[in-house]
Subunit: 145 residues, 2 copies
DNA sequence: GGTGAAAGAGTGTGGAC
DNA sequence: GTCCACACTCTTTCACC
């Protein structure tokens, strides 16, 4: 993991459809040498997978919110079940602080969030929730190498 | 945007290195027909870009937190400047609720978070912050079509 | 949307530093 | 161990039905 590898990761994050030949010329390497490095980065798990970034608006997910969940005792497993079953839930993190977990949610509208909250409370494990509705996303980029 | 397109998006999210021929056979379409659909999905902006998912651990980003920021009046632009300049900040959302903005942060360690907080307060626009340190990530998937 | 063909990319092998 | 040059196979992607 040297500066070459970091540059490769940066290029791939920007656009993974880049050809190896193109990236190789940018870094003054031969295509096979670059290919070798990418293969190793994948084998080592640094690159977990190649995927596409979708536009939430185009998929009718106009509503985004962060939901803080306070549970009755330790109930992460029950929470995870509900979160995983609902495609609206993009992330779930167990956190330290006044809340037990933070959920990142994307639904069609506010009613979709209410649906999720209902399901969360129905488990009996949730004491209270606090939802922060996203008004505008200023920045949303992945990890930068 | 029919059921074919949704299936294509699902397949590409899982693994964007799939060949068109492979996906076409899964959906009982010809490679060029599938290629046409993907091209249109990209042109329409449904597919924003093709990228790679990296492992935060492998890049020494062991520490993750959500930071709630309360500003002195409307100061999103100043906030955005600081957030954008810091590669540790992955997301910044303006939200409704008791906070003004939520930041998703990934650093090497807790000291990295403190650094960011210092920079935030140095702008003079921040009244208070509340940080929720991620103990464990239970779910982290993108949008599902 | 399907068919066939061209241009070009991905990906092994062998050899040199 | 890492990089380069060559070559072969498969994919992408075009024009036409």
């Amino acid at each position: 993991m040297d500066s070459f590898d970091r540059k490769i990761l940066g290029l791939l994050r920007e656009d993974a459809t880049r050809t190896y030949a193109d990236m190789a010329s940018h870094l003054h390497l031969s295509p096979p040498a670059l290919h070798d490095r990418v293969k190793k980065l994948k084998a080592k798990g640094v690159i977990k997978r190649t995927t596409v970034e979708l536009d939430p608006q185009a998929l009718d997910r106009h509503f985004c919110a962060f939901v803080h969940v306070e549970t009755e005792g330790y109930a992460k497993d029950i929470l995870k079940e509900v979160a995983e079953a609902d495609p609206a839930v993009e992330e779930m993190h167990g956190v330290a602080g006044s809340s037990s977990a933070i959920l990142k949610v994307r639904t069609h509208d506010a009613a979709g969030l209410e649906e999720l909250l209902r399901r969360l409370f129905e488990t009996g494990a949730v004491r209270r929730t606090e939802s922060f509705v996203v008004l505008r996303t200023y920045l949303e980029r992945g990890i930068s190498p």
